[in-house]
Subunit: 225 residues, 2 copies
């Protein structure tokens, strides 16, 4: 806490007066009370952003799913177990926000049926039907008066190309592209920012430092708005 | 470390000279590089057992999957990401063991296909076929000269009944039954031991204390063999 206080003291308050919401971690879509479909996501990048947003003076709201990482102290924190939970929590608090970062690995699909009791493994083959979850980021970006929306694209191939498509499809002013294998679980990351002015590739760095650079870049964009 | 040293000093060395293997945590069965099917399991019960087995003087081998809990110091520790990994790691080291505790929430099923690239969410409905994983505990118990096998049954309904069936079906000398909702993620647990002599219900207690009672009960069973 002392170290955090000192860090906060020496970090420029570029985001003072701004309200920033960040989703982090992963959701888990339950098949029954114990089994579910989830994404590998450490939550570290989202938590680093939330911590840095606090240090830079923003009123920071964290909506977090399942994660192994230690959660930073923020202005408001809400746990969301499933994609539906996260959708509702985000929408409940989004109106007040200036900026929205969708960093969480939200499950794209959920089982179309959830058993209230533990499924017994009697069958040799089990077929499950998955239905699409609502797209939190796209829906936030489509609000009548949306916050400045930043997406994250974690891809295994054609990283920049897919990120560009995702930015346009969801009508996001900014998206941050990273390679799944580089990012996942690591303290380091290597990202490319894509916005209306093109691509900005940042050097490989600690997620905390990446967070500072992203938020500083964000600040220049907010000033242009 | 000091506290652990003191605790170890004052714990009776009932299991000195014994080799105990414990599985803990949950496996994750990948659909693609980022998505998978897993179980909610904190890993706390398995880790408590491993820590207590160490304190009681056993040479302890931990085979652990995904977990949020701090891992205790043991004689040998192996990470196993999937049910197949866990199966192979257990089988590689099982011959030397006197006792096997199957505490891990091993996924019963895995996707019959795993995509090497991240699946794009183009479809509204996705159907996945799951095939059964090998049953680690049943296969260990069926070895020609098996260790003393202890299973764990986490059930949402008919807890004792299902646990008894599981004990007989897998030919286990001992099984520990618990209610999913009581056990999951908590530091406390309430369990019933089922062995050839019947049922022994333990009081609700810290998982560390439950671990001590289970291992003490186990010792009496080993002495009878």
């Amino acid at each position: 806490a002392l170290v955090e206080g000192v860090q906060t003291f020496f970090t420029p308050k570029l985001l003072a007066g701004k309200k920033i919401m960040i989703t982090a971690g992963s959701t888990m879509e339950m098949l029954d009370p114990v089994r579910g479909i989830t994404n590998l996501s450490s939550g570290k990048m989202g938590f680093a952003l939330a911590q840095m947003a606090m240090r830079m003076g923003a009123e920071t709201t964290l909506v977090y799913g399942h994660t192994h990482a230690p959660r930073p102290l923020v202005s408001h924190a809400h746990f969301a177990a499933t994609a539906d939970d996260m959708y509702h929590t985000v929408m409940q608090h989004i109106a007040a926000q200036d900026v929205f970062f969708g960093v969480a690995a939200v499950a794209d699909y959920k089982p179309n049926m959830r058993s209230s009791q533990k499924i017994k493994k009697s069958e040799d083959i089990l077929t499950i039907d998955l239905i699409k979850n609502k797209d939190i980021l796209a829906d936030v970006a489509s609000l009548p008066n949306p916050p400045y929306c930043v997406g994250f694209a974690a891809e295994t191939e054609q990283v920049i190309e897919y990120a560009k498509q995702k930015r346009l499809a969801k009508r996001l002013p900014m998206i941050v592209a990273n390679q799944v294998m580089t990012a996942m679980g690591n303290d380091n990351n290597q990202v490319t920012i894509i916005d209306s002015k093109g691509e900005h590739t940042l050097d490989t760095d600690l997620k905390t430092n990446i967070a500072f650079k992203l938020l500083t870049h964000l600040k220049t964009q907010l000033d242009l708005d």
